[in-house]
Amino acid sequence: MFRLIKNEFSKLKVPVISTVVLLSITAIVLSSTMYQNYSLDYDLEAWEIGTELLNFLFPMFVVVPICWLMYYERKNNFLLYTMPRVRKTKYLTAKWIVAAVSSFAIIFVPYFLSAIFALYVKQPIVPQIITNPEVSPFDHVYLDMFVNTPLLYAFLLSLWKSIIGVMVMSLGFMLSLYIKNIFVILTGPFIYVILENFSLAILRLEKYRLVTSYEPSTISSQAITAISPFVGPALLITFTVIIWVIFAKVKNKTVYEV
């Protein structure tokens, strides 16, 4: 299994590592520059502003560098050659583990690095409360942790974002097992997130969106309840399972197509 994982990683390392590096640089630069046009109170807010774009595009970044591999292995029949050598489930599991670790890294490293830069490297923010005492009191979700232990907040949030990233990647991975159109595979999760975001916003269920779970500061902190961060991921997992049931059980498609 270990050798399989190593083998799989060697196939993916170039796109994954380059994505991690590029995203980290972008996130760091944005987090340490974009905040200057805003009036803020805390250093971590600069991080939230700087990573706003990343929050929007993350389904692309976790899927595109990873999920192309399975498509091409199916397309050029490489998958069939692995059959005599390794069990199907073992091979696919190894592949998923590598993909999961990769997508975890793609999300975690840029976010956490840019948080460190926002907290310790860039110029400290002069709180707006001091310069302009008439503003309304600062409000934020998980306020205590956000204000007192920002590094822990950033670490935990990056961790949670990475977990969601792995889930989104799993949807792309599931698509890449069954669909023959690489464009749909690579953009499907992004479209899912956009449509889910939009339709839940229409239904006034903003607190249950995946995006809210991913970045809790997108809606007012009072609207967030104990279960609301878990609804979006649960919907995503349900959707993935439904896709799997449709392809594997209803349409009777197999991954290893001869």
Partner: protein, 497 residues
């Protein structure tokens, strides 16, 4: 008689039961919160705008649709001439229309049981029926007379409608008959909301069936009667003399790869998705609507899109969905056809440009289909909300849809260009999303998403932005540039696989 028995088949009977139930519900809802005598209640139900236009008329069309197709030749032969067959069949439809009317009247009468039996006009001020009753009371002496007149008119109208539908069903193929029936219905449902259509002297189903739609202007009833009589004469004449001809729209045999691409791209599934996206947008704007706006403002909200120099996720998503829906389907289509493209196709094509031309033409048609949805569904939305549709609104809608179409064309060309350059349609899509995200920067002349009305200078709302003429010029120039490159050197890179 046999024809009648045959035509009263299961579908028709089921429809009649459904008609009774819904008509009864409408009748009960008309009683809620209103104090009026029995006859006036019946009058209110039978002239209820929503009931007539959005339920009764479609149900009647459906009912006719079950039976309009010609019977097989043996049945027609027994009537000796086609004309006699046509008349017999029409008579059976007259009986069905009669049953239809009886079912309605029964439901209305039952729904009104227990109301006081006054016979004079008693017009409550402020009610929804006030305006209509005022008009009716100026013409008819009593509500009972008015009710009888409306019901009789409706019965005659239904008979005429049935004849028109039979005529359409005989001279056109089934698929064309459905299309024409649906478009005639839409015209009758929409025309009442659009003032200039309403003023035109055209007669649609609602004029033929609904009496009070003819009372809006002095000549209206005359126009309806004359058109109907002329139409009936034409129908009888064509059925008598030219019954053996069929209007058929034979398709010209088209050669080359373009029709295959068109069939693949403009498939029923893709078109449904496009329609669903527009409906989703319209429903969203409908839910957002908090009242107090007119049609033009509503159109602006619908096509607002995203401005430049800011970033607001929800409106950006909205813009991406509205602009990107056809692009996404187009991209999936390009990926599919180029993956399946085999060397044999290349061999049979005379010119490499044919692939590019095929893709571009099918994409153009696809975008035009989207344009039809973008133009029609908001009009329906406006009429459902109850906003007036005047010329200003229509002009604005035309401008927005036109801009949107050129914008989408530019984005589609952009994605094709990137595909030619890099060879991955996904790269094209990512590039397109990135190009749209450039709106974070204050680039007023950014061609991607320029159809957003929040970037266009509209004197009506006072939005700052560039003039619509400049926007159109920018978009056209960009698309000319992209098309020029594609035909100059881009086509050599197709297909990639």
């Amino acid at each position: 008689m046999n024809l009648l028995r045959k035509n009263l088949n299961g579908g028709v009977r089921g429809t009649l039961v459904g008609l009774f139930v819904v008509c009864f519900i409408f009748g009960l809802s008309a009683r809620v919160g209103v104090e009026q005598p029995f006859i006036q209640h019946c009058l209110a139900v039978i002239s209820d705008h929503y009931y007539l236009l959005y339920f009764m008329l479609p149900v009647f069309l459906l009912l006719c649709f079950f039976v309009i197709e010609d019977d097989n030749e043996a049945v027609i032969l027994r009537h000796k001439t086609y004309f006699r067959y046509f008349v017999c069949k029409w008579l059976s439809l007259v009986v069905i229309s009669f049953i239809f009317m009886v079912v309605q009247l029964l439901a209305i009468v039952i729904s009104g049981i227990g109301l006081p039996m006054d016979s004079g006009w008693l017009i409550a001020s402020g009610g929804t029926t006030e305006e209509l009753f005022t008009v009716l009371s100026s013409i008819f002496a009593s509500p009972a007379l008015s009710f009888t007149a409306i019901a009789a008119y409706m019965f005659v109208g239904l008979c005429v409608t049935a004849m028109i539908l039979m005529w359409i069903g005989h001279f056109l193929s089934k698929s064309w008959a459905i299309k024409i029936m649906i478009s005639l219905y839409l015209l009758s449902a929409v025309s009442i909301k659009i003032s200039f259509l309403w003023e035109l002297p055209i007669t649609v189903f609602n004029h033929i069936i609904i009496l009070h739609h003819n009372l809006s202007s002095p000549h209206r009833l005359m126009i309806t009667v004359v058109t109907s009589i002329v139409l009936v004469c034409v129908i009888l004449w064509t059925v008598k003399k030219h019954w053996n001809r069929q209007l058929s729209f034979s398709k010209r045999q088209v050669r080359g790869i373009t029709p295959y691409y068109c069939k693949e791209l403009i498939s029923r599934k893709n078109v449904t998705i496009l329609g669903a996206i527009v409906v989703l947008m319209v429903v969203w704007k409908y839910l957002q609507n908090d009242g107090g706006i007119n049609g033009e403002e509503w159109i602006i909200r619908l096509f607002a899109g995203h401005g430049t120099g800011t970033f607001h996720i929800l409106s950006f998503t909205e813009m991406l969905l509205l602009n990107g829906a056809p692009i996404y389907l187009l991209a999936a289509f390009i990926e599919k056809v180029t993956t399946e493209h085999s060397a044999f196709i290349t061999v049979r094509l005379k010119n490499r440009k044919d692939i590019l031309v095929g893709i571009l033409i099918s994409a153009l048609l696809f975008v035009l289909v989207y344009g039809i949805f973008l133009a029609l569904i908001p009009i329906i939305g406006l009429s459902v909300i109850g906003l007036s549709i005047d010329t200003g609104t229509l002009a604005l809608l035309g401008l927005s849809v036109g801009l949107k179409l050129i914008d989408i064309a530019v984005q589609a060309l952009f994605i094709i260009v990137i595909y030619c350059l890099i060879g991955q349609i996904t790269a094209g899509f990512i590039g397109l999303v990135a190009a749209n995200i450039l709106c974070i920067a204050p680039l007023a002349y950014l061609p991607f998403g320029l159809s957003s009305l929040s970037r266009i200078n509209l004197p009506l709302i006072g939005v700052e932005g560039i003039a619509s003429l400049y926007a159109i010029l920018i978009l056209l120039a960009t698309s000319a540039l992209l098309v020029g490159w594609l035909f100059a050197s881009g086509y050599k890179r197709l297909p990639k696989n």
